[in-house]
Amino acid sequence: MKEITYLEAIKEALDEEMTRDPSVFVLGEDVGAYGGAFRVTEGLYEKYGDWRILDTPLSESGFTGAAIGAALVGMRPVVEMQFADFISCAFDQLVNVAAKNHYRWGAPTPIVVRAPYGGNIHGGPYHSQNIEGFFFNVPGIKIVAPATAYDAKGLLKAAIRDNDPVIYCEHKYLYRRIKDTIPEEDYIVPIGKARIALEGSDVSVITYGAMVHTAIEAARSLKDNGISCEIVDLRTILPLDKKTIIDTVKKTNKVVILHEQTKTGGVGAEVSALISEYCFDYLDGPIIRVAAPDTPVPFSAQMEEVFIPQAKDVIAAVEKLMRY
């Protein structure tokens, strides 16, 4: 057992998978000798060389398409977007080629697209976006978003071994801010399974990514007021783990959905709709969503703070629901 950061967990997963399976390789901008904009691939170039830690020209569509083609002939490419925001340039290849290959002509496309996403780092509109919404209505794509270092490693390994295109949302804010004690031996975190980040009985807070930590902060403070929150960390966003969602609602009968993604058309809408469909009789109050407002991510610290959901917003939502 050893303690590593979220960022180190990602790197370890890459390193171990590349050692285990020669078909795994990484491509993207500046991932090579430089080690990537966030230094996630640092050291891997020296170990695996120019063709397995492969610098590309500045061309997201081109190199994502190339990853797809390599996957079709047996490789397991991991694409690094320098920032998740640039995945918009590769949208067509992901949505129309990768996502549909298997359905259309039976060809698995085992690619992983690493998307360093999320705000709270003063990145402004183009270096802070949550991009899961772009792909959330696209059948054929899988989306994961680890909240802990443990899951960051286990989900990336699972994603690499998975036979479908997986968008791996790694939250930039968490890179060096959180740590976990990780087993020495190989493990994966299965795609499609949420986890209970905190057991509780009064209200369920369903969330993922960096917001899991915001939820925990809120839960701590709510506990002091005698309110017990159950926190569900979705981990996989597409497809959603319906069972865990349904189970928690049946247990607590009250739901707050929390995400950093903007509200309209966010993951929370789907979670809410699922609950209304499957747990209507178990609900003791409205389903409240705490999410970023429907705006781009503003740059100034003052504005970004009201953009990013805070623990106090979660607390207010829970308290409102408890009064219900």
Binding site: A66, I68, A70, V73, M75, W105, K242
Partner: protein, 325 residues
């Protein structure tokens, strides 16, 4: 480069096979038996036949939608293709897809995504895999003149050139993208000039001469296979029908069609074979008959095949489905 007589006759066979198959598909479409739309390679068969015949069995083709010849040359049966067009269970895609939107990894053919030029980057990826693994395999990827205006064309050409990937890029320059003539698509004379931006070798060939297409592609494949990097091959031809069967193509000057009618790739090949005594007329007729027969069988097979179970709609989205919870 020498070409064996056997290969010449095969090329002739595939030209005929492609023409007859698409003619039949067109009829079935007009009879209402094929739904959606039909796009053919009529008058342009030499390109798909020529470049795919240049590939080895282990190579990969990443075709575009006028490349039905690639499917035949690589060994997909007319039966499966016909059933595919009719939306049958026994077709290449089991009914999930229609027209030239099909692919089959067992035959080294990537599915064609409708979005033009998308298969250029995808093709580079397979070439990259071969390079990484040190395999002596190559890729041929194709798009139309229209597709060369897309960003994906640029990104793929550039990447292949930088990394000297074993890929041959084919461009079917049939002088139009739908209704848009090449002069409204680009301010250059030959599409091949596009390759200058990447430091990539290029060739412009007569796309109606299957032997020339084949030879040029074959040479480019050998260069690619031996580490010499990519080549861009512009095949000049003419779209002899409308863009699709919906389109009467009034915008194409009649004289242009008249002129190119004389250059029909099948006539050209027939003439070449006869004049150089590679074959006699009756041998060619026999080949034609073989193609005709196969297509008749294919049609029968397709017509008799069942439609897919509607429930198939729900299957196959993921290669690794998540257990239902």
């Amino acid at each position: 480069m020498e070409i064996k007589r056997e290969d010449l006759l095969n090329l002739y066979y595939y030209l005929k096979f492609t023409r007859r198959l698409e003619d039949r598909i067109t009829s079935l479409y007009h009879q209402g038996k094929i739904l959606g739309g039909v796009w053919t390679s009529n008058g342009m068969e030499a390109i798909s036949v020529g470049y795919s015949y240049a590939l080895e069995k282990n190579d990969i083709a990443a075709p575009y939608f006028r490349d039905i010849g690639v499917f035949l040359v690589r060994g997909i049966t007319a039966k499966r293709i016909m059933a595919h067009y009719l939306g049958k269970k026994t077709g290449v895609s089991g009914g999930r897809e229609g027209n030239v939107h099909m692919g089959d990894l067992n035959f080294g053919i990537f599915g064609f995504p409708s979005h033009l030029a998308d298969n250029y980057p995808v093709g580079t990826g397979a070439a990259l895999a071969f390079k990484i693994r040190g395999e002596k395999r190559v890729v041929a990827a194709c798009t139309g003149d229209g597709g060369t205006s897309r960003g994906d064309f640029h990104e793929a050409m550039n990447f292949a050139a930088v990394r000297k990937l074993p890929i041959v890029f084919i461009c079917n320059n049939n002088q139009y993208a739908y209704s848009t003539p090449v002069r409204f698509q680009m301010a250059i004379r030959n599409v091949a000039e596009r390759a200058l931006a990447y430091g990539m070798n290029s060739k412009t060939v007569d796309g109606n001469n299957v032997v020339e297409v084949y030879k040029t592609a074959r040479e480019a494949c050998e260069i690619a296979r031996n580490g010499g990097g990519p080549t861009f091959i512009e095949c000049k031809t003419m779209r002899m029908h409308g863009h699709s069967e919906h389109d009467s193509a009034k915008y194409v000057p009649k004289e242009l069609l008249e002129e190119w009618k004389k250059k029909d790739p099948i006539l050209t090949m027939e003439k070449y074979l006869l004049e150089n005594s590679f074959a006699k007329k009756d041998e060619l007729d026999g080949i034609d008959l073989r193609a005709k027969k196969e297509i008749e069988d294919a049609e029968k097979f397709a017509e008799e095949s069942p439609y897919p179970d509607p429930g198939e709609c729900f299957k196959g989205v993921y290669a690794t489905p998540i257990e239902a919870t």
